[in-house]
Symmetry: C2
């Protein structure tokens, strides 16, 4: 009988090592979800009026096949939106995709061949790992500190590879703004150094930037895309964290010749035109900036509640307070194991993710196990407080055991 | 500087040989589009009330991330819907995807390895060709007559391959109901013979079935999926032709173990939950059967108008009148070239597609050039009449030249 392709066999192995997060509907009553990047239910906007307009005034546009590159007005809006962050984009530099993961998949199709090396931070966003690995990528893991990716370490590794005549990595994959899982916003000098390094060596940068506008305080730095000189940055954006995850609309901003090639690889009949029209009208309306402000205020409150609860109930854990994004990365004292803590917490009714899950080399060599990642986006402030209390109980029981 | 992957280079070549159809918005005024499978604008239903319900009553479900396999109630509805056609499916046999092309892409990921052979009809649906070829598939083209795929020819080719110790093809790809481009509904004996042949040799069947319910007369035969014995058929369905192309929601129905593997290959954050809810509520409402009837009546009228215009203005062209679907396949008399006719027609303001575009081997060996495909879905009956008059003028001028 039929056998699965090598790609499908690899996907099965990956699937076993990277289990999916829990969906809210699947949670047992009383369980507090600090594990995944779902939106706060209170922040999901009322988009009905935009849907009605799309399905009546713009019915033909919204219900026929749509242009492969995406709605021209939405691409123009996105170019302007990113130019506010220092980019110099035209609508032709934007391709609409079905969410950020679809964008990463297309970029892998564009650039990767079986066995190619790519650079990721250690730790890195765990849902990106199986996508890269399904294309046969080899990972070069580079350290990540409170200022972002350790670009000097990357330079040393590249020099070593040159000395050993190993091929350059194809790209550096990075969440520069409110990094997942550490919450770090990359420092300006590091951004400049990374773009200069990539340009010098002819390596692309894949900038995955879902959390940029979810900033609570401090000044925004330009995106990596804004620092580029010769079009070395492919920027992946999404409306999932800013408006709603279920929209399944994201974009890639890149050099026009790369966008043309990415379009050739996107044989899907166009991304959903109804959602594109709804997003365009919502973002062009006066509701958009009010919504972004509401998102920032609410998640700031969530973060503050989590930080206060941690300081009060688990003062011995070390953390860098994030200035934005969805996540808090905790470093555990010696002798406390993140995987064990995550298992114990799940039994006590609070879901979180062990830090070891965020390393691309996981499963093949030992990943650091002295971290946990807490998400403060989905749970309410009161649930967050209660979740941290439960976590503190588990922690003390495990310490005492 | 960076170079594109082998996959991306192949996509660029394919893109040049299979140009995209024209989008209605791109048409010059007065041009009549008989070239592509867009829906009749009058048949796009008013889905506003379903969108409002999804975005208010079901807001969390519609705007958070969704389950990777798709909405359970929609999968249950689809299982029942296909069981009316003789299948024996459970909701676990259904995977929701982002349209039929996405379904084909996932099936290729599941089954194909570079250089694998697959069987396609000659002619075949042209948008499927670049998807298959992007996975490095080699095509075995099997003839197609007024009863559907020539299964006896397939048997002979398989025997030859066995004698030459060539590997079996991985699957047979086929549009069994109102085949694109020929409009043929496969005969019952052929369906039985194909499924028996595939089972005997352990070859999968990929049944692409967008047009099944767009039937104007005659009795429906069971789908290929309904004839299977050991789960050898992967059925790809879509709401594009039944409700609206822009929904970008389709499904794969297959053995549960294959569905589980396909899910592992679909790392996209779930198909759009808002659209899934809208489709579920529309299909579960009393509007659905009325809508299907409206679609059947309208396209029957479109077809009748086209057939009558052809009989009146181009009686020398041979055709089999389709009993459903979107397309009419014309055979030209000796000495008339389909590509030349299509070019001349475009200059005269009527777009259609030369038959040579529908052969998987096109570009490498000579494809039959004595056919054209006319689509009667998008243009109005009056436009169809006018388009056929223009085509007849071009035809007579080319004959006289």
């Amino acid at each position: 009988m039929l056998t699965a392709s090598p790609l499908a066999r690899r996907a099965a192995e990956l699937s076993a090592s990277f289990p999916a997060p829990h969906f809210p509907a699947e949670l047992e009553p009383g369980v507090i979800a600090l594990d995944s990047g779902f939106a706060s239910p209170q922040l999901l906007p009322d988009l009905s009026r935009f849907a009605v307009a799309a399905l009546t005034r713009h019915r033909e546009e919204s219900l026929q096949y749509s242009a492969p590159q995406g709605h021209p007005a939405l691409r123009a809006w996105l170019a302007r939106y990113m130019n506010e962050d220092g980019c110099r984009l035209e609508p032709q530099n934007v391709l609409i995709v079905n969410g950020a993961k679809h964008g990463l998949d297309l970029i892998c199709r564009l650039l990767l061949d079986e066995g190619d090396a790519i650079v990721v931070s250690a730790p890195t966003y765990f849902s990106a790992i199986p996508i890269f690995r399904s294309f046969g990528a080899e990972f070069i893991e580079i350290g990540h500190d409170e200022h972002g990716l350790a670009v000097d370490e990357l330079e040393r590794v590249l020099e070593q590879r040159a000395a050993l005549r190993q091929p350059w990595p194809k790209f550096v994959y990075l969440v520069a703004d409110f990094h997942n899982p550490t919450g770090v916003a990359m420092a300006r000098t590091r951004r400049e150094a990374l773009v200069a390094c990539a340009q010098r060596h002819g390596i692309a940068i894949v900038e995955d930037n879902p959390y940029r506008r979810v900033r609570f305080e401090g000044e925004s730095l330009p995106t990596l895309k804004a620092f580029e000189r010769v079009g070395e940055v492919l920027h992946v954006g999404t409306f999932s964290k800013l408006i709603a995850p279920g929209l399944r609309i994201g974009w890639i901003a890149a050099r026009a010749d790369w966008i043309a090639r990415l379009m050739q690889l996107k044989s899907d009949g166009g991304s959903n035109p109804l959602i594109q029209r709804m997003v365009l009208d919502f973002c062009s309306s006066e509701h958009f900036s009010a919504h972004v402000e509401r998102v920032q205020c609410a998640y700031r409150e969530h973060r503050d509640r989590m930080v206060a609860a941690l300081r009060s109930h688990l003062p011995e854990l070390s953390m860098d307070v994030p200035h934005g994004g969805y996540y808090l990365w905790l470093t555990l004292p010696p002798g406390v194991d993140g995987d064990e803590l995550a298992r114990g917490a799940a039994q006590a009714g609070v879901n979180l993710i062990a830090g070891s899950r965020f390393y691309a080399s996981g499963g093949r060599q030992v990943s650091p196990c002295n971290h946990i990642r807490l998400s403060y986006s989905f749970a309410s402030p009161d649930q967050i407080e209660q979740g941290i209390r439960r976590l503190a109980d588990v922690y003390r029981k495990q310490l005492a055991a």
